[in-house]
């Protein structure tokens, strides 16, 4: 049972942390239509996080709620991958992070919609519609920036240098994934193919021979996460035990 809870939390943490990151663009996007689009993606991810936390809370019992899971765990207890907690940087970095993650989430949710736990399967199936849009939108932007101007190409290439090192972790199974026989390694083939196709259109090359950073999935994070959580959890920590 604890592996299932931990895995559900891992999925929820991924969605929450990326949703929180994206939400910082709200009101600050490069053009109104895209401001609305990134906010919408943030909203989808927070919605996914809520469904997953609610399920994890039911499995845990004892008065646990979606909010106690999101607001009262510490950085060492969060098990999101390192990729989603990376800073927004510029529009290129945000977009590339979204593309790398959405393409992973797309194949993962396709796999999970047939998973034996019907609750997780249902959440995956419902979220897949949203993720398909996130993937299409972010792919289009990666291509547009890669094949746009000299400056946009330089910026997306530099984002790729920055973020690629966090992609290896996605396909290395953590303990809870092994326990549940969730074969994340098997997703890498389709994911790589998708990345290569989009990069080819964007005039980008997949970096070779990069040392992959790992640890987020088992609670060893970058220094960024603590600050993100400090802000996210501020109200619940300052005013414990209140209804909002």
């Amino acid at each position: 049972m604890s592996s299932k809870i931990n895995y559900t939390l891992h999925l929820a943490d991924n969605a929450l942390i990326l949703g929180q990151r994206n939400s910082a663009w709200c009101g600050h996007g490069p053009v109104l239509e895209q401001d609305i689009a990134i906010t919408n993606i943030s909203l989808d991810l927070i919605g996914q996080a809520r469904s997953l936390y609610q399920y994890a809370a039911e499995l845990t019992g004892g008065g646990t709620t979606e909010d106690s899971l999101a607001y009262l765990r510490t950085e060492r207890e969060f098990s999101n991958c390192l990729l989603v907690e990376q800073p927004n940087g510029d529009w290129a970095q945000t977009l590339l992070r979204q593309f790398l993650f959405s393409s992973y989430q797309f194949y993962l949710y396709q796999y999970l919609q047939c998973y034996s736990d019907t609750r997780i399967a249902a959440i995956a199936e419902k979220s897949l519609k949203e993720v398909s849009y996130h993937l299409r939108w972010s792919s289009e932007w990666v291509i547009r920036l890669g094949d746009g101007t000299e400056e946009s190409h330089r910026r997306i290439a530099s984002a790729l240098d920055e973020l690629w090192r966090y992609t290896g972790e996605l396909f290395l199974p953590a303990g809870y994934e092994k326990d549940l026989a969730i074969d994340v390694a098997a997703l890498e083939y389709d994911w790589s193919k998708k990345i290569k196709n989009v990069f080819a259109e964007a005039n980008l090359t997949v970096p070779g021979n990069v040392f992959m950073q790992t640890g987020g999935k088992s609670g060893m994070h970058s220094e960024y996460l603590g600050h993100l959580l400090t802000e996210l959890q501020y109200m619940q920590r300052t005013f414990p035990g209140c209804e909002w």
């Binding site: 939400s23 910082a24 009101g27 490069p30 109104l32 927070i46 946009s152 209140c242």
Partner: protein, 314 residues
């Protein structure tokens, strides 16, 4: 052949409650007034994303975070329809945005106040959106067709936001001592600025007569303000909070609430740019626009190149 009297045809349409459409003849000043008003309204939606956006990262529960994100996103959407409605009068969105950034165009002064606590998010929904709705319901019947139609859609969403704001405050008003205090404090700070949203007193409002004749406006500033006070003075009873006005009293003779004097010096100071957040709001908008420039350029360059490729059949 007699020359048609365009001005008379135009006024007859207005008097006959027929909407004016983009291609119809209209007096230059009608075009100018509508362009100014609709673009100002669009800017208000977009600048209005900032004070509430200030609490997205710190919303106290996941449910409240989702509600707030959806609300701020709706405001962006309202900005889009309004810019489109204003564009039908012949000014491009880019020109309007440049006027905002240069300080030539105004936006609602209410957004120059800071959001200091979570309760401010509830107070904005209830009081600021509540005041905006008074004006917007009237504008669903404004004489310029594209503006009136945009307002119909916007009004539906705004009433929803107002209920959500009230609901957020209701939870606080039934919560801990600290929550109650936060709730009252937010009401104290937002009440008077919300009353100022209706603009100067009728005796001092410069554009009013012509706007009424052209049915751009259908109710005066003071009439709308009174309707708002009457509504809020009743709703606050459910919250068991107080409005910060010792002169607020039901007047049986007028069948309206009497209320105290607005601080018009403060109103004009904020209009002139001296409110607590005027500088931060404009700086934030300019920064987003300047930092987005390379993104917009890349999108244009890519679209151009793709067009060429498609033309070549590749």
């Amino acid at each position: 052949m007699p020359v048609p009297d365009f001005e008379k045809i135009f006024q007859d349409k207005i008097d006959g409650e027929i909407k004016i459409e983009p291609k119809d003849w209209m007096p230059e000043n009608y075009r100018k007034t509508n362009t100014r008003q609709i673009s100002q309204h669009a800017h208000s939606e977009v600048v209005g994303m900032l004070p509430e956006g200030n609490w997205i990262s710190r919303a106290p529960s996941l449910k409240r975070k989702a509600i707030l994100l959806a609300k701020v996103q709706d405001e962006g959407g309202h900005g889009l329809y309004l810019y489109s409605a204003a564009e039908t009068l012949g000014m491009s969105r880019e020109e309007m945005i440049n006027d905002l950034h240069s300080g030539k165009a105004k936006y609602s002064s209410i957004f120059n106040y800071p959001t200091l606590t979570w309760a401010d998010i509830g107070a904005i929904g209830w009081l600021v959106d509540g005041a905006a709705i008074m004006n917007q319901v009237m504008l669903t019947r404004t004489s310029y067709g594209p503006y009136a139609r945009a307002m119909v859609r916007i009004c539906k969403e705004e009433s929803f936001h107002q209920r959500q704001g009230f609901d957020a405050l209701l939870v606080l008003s039934r919560g801990s001592a600290a929550q109650k205090e936060m709730c009252q404090d937010a009401i104290n700070r937002w009440w008077w600025p919300a009353l100022m949203m209706f603009g100067p007193r009728d005796t001092e409002s410069t554009n009013s007569d012509q706007s009424m004749k052209w049915k751009i406006k259908r109710k005066s500033n003071d009439e709308l303000r009174q309707n708002f006070v009457d509504m809020i003075a009743e709703q606050i009873k459910t919250l068991k909070m107080k409005l910060p006005d010792p002169d607020l009293n039901w007047n049986e003779e007028r069948k309206h609430y009497d209320f105290g004097t607005i601080n018009w010096d403060e109103f004009w100071q904020v209009v002139k740019g001296n409110g607590p957040c005027n500088k931060q709001r404009l700086d934030a908008r300019r920064k987003a626009w300047e930092e987005g420039e390379w993104v917009r350029e890349a999108a244009i360059a890519y679209a151009g190149r793709r067009g060429e490729r498609m033309a070549r059949g590749g």
